[in-house]
């Protein structure tokens, strides 16, 4: 299945706005991210959180074909 990873803030600067990857049917967010990190070890140490359809999901969340996963570095809103 096709999964799109979308990046923000420091991840966007390092990796670009988004990438698409093939993943096994029913793959979890965590599996897709770890496969991607294997290609990009420079972001392996970044603490990330994930969102699908504009809601936070756990790393164990199972993805469906065409899903977009927003990958967030630590948020830092406020002043």
């Amino acid at each position: 299945m096709r999964i799109r990873l979308r990046f923000f803030a420091m991840l966007r600067e390092k990796l670009g706005a988004a990438v698409e990857r093939e993943a096994r049917a029913g793959a979890t967010v965590s599996a897709v991210w770890h496969a991607f990190v294997a290609e990009h070890p420079e972001v392996a140490r970044v603490q990330v959180r994930f969102a699908v359809d504009e809601a936070y999901v756990e790393p164990g969340h199972r993805l469906a074909d065409g899903d977009e996963v927003a990958v967030f570095p630590p948020v830092s809103g406020g002043a």
């Binding site: 803030a9 600067e13 969102a51 927003a70 830092s76 809103g77 002043a79």
Partner: protein
């Protein structure tokens, strides 16, 4: 009022949005950009957001706050893009029948916003730039031309 804006935050509009005939208190928190951080001389701050999710998360926080405290109205506005030093980057207003609830809820809302709303801050300081919250062993100053 739950908004992500690219210009100066309209504090008067936020205040109007939470006014309520049954309210005896309006507490407003305004976060402003400071000219120093961790010993760095800050020139400006730049914010980025996943806007649609950010407003959704702000609404969800307000809904939770209304369950926890007896509140009348809540409004939250965050500015993104470049915010010069000394200007407001975030404002939260809460109205309630009595002041205690409004103070407590406002404090909780800004703390939670900083923890979960998808907004990121990049600090441009004298000698470099850094995404706050994403420190991986300290800042890597950008070489200046």
């Amino acid at each position: 009022m739950f908004r992500i804006v690219r210009r100066r935050i309209d504090l008067a509009a936020l205040d109007r949005a939470v006014r309520d005939a049954k309210a005896g208190a309006v507490v407003t928190f305004v976060g402003t950009t400071r000219n120093e951080n961790a010993g760095r001389q800050v020139r400006r701050l730049e914010y980025e957001a996943l806007e649609s999710m950010a407003t959704k998360e702000m609404r969800a926080l307000a809904a939770t706050a209304k369950k926890r405290w007896r509140l009348r109205k809540v409004g939250m506005v965050h500015r993104i893009g470049v915010v010069p030093v000394g200007e407001a980057s975030v404002a939260i207003a809460v109205s309630s029948g009595h002041r205690t609830e409004a103070f407590d809820a406002c404090r909780w809302l800004i703390d939670r916003l900083k923890e979960i709303v998808p907004i990121w801050k990049k600090e441009h300081y004298r000698g470099g730039e850094i995404w706050i919250g994403a420190q991986q062993g300290g800042p890597a100053p950008r070489r200046r031309r």
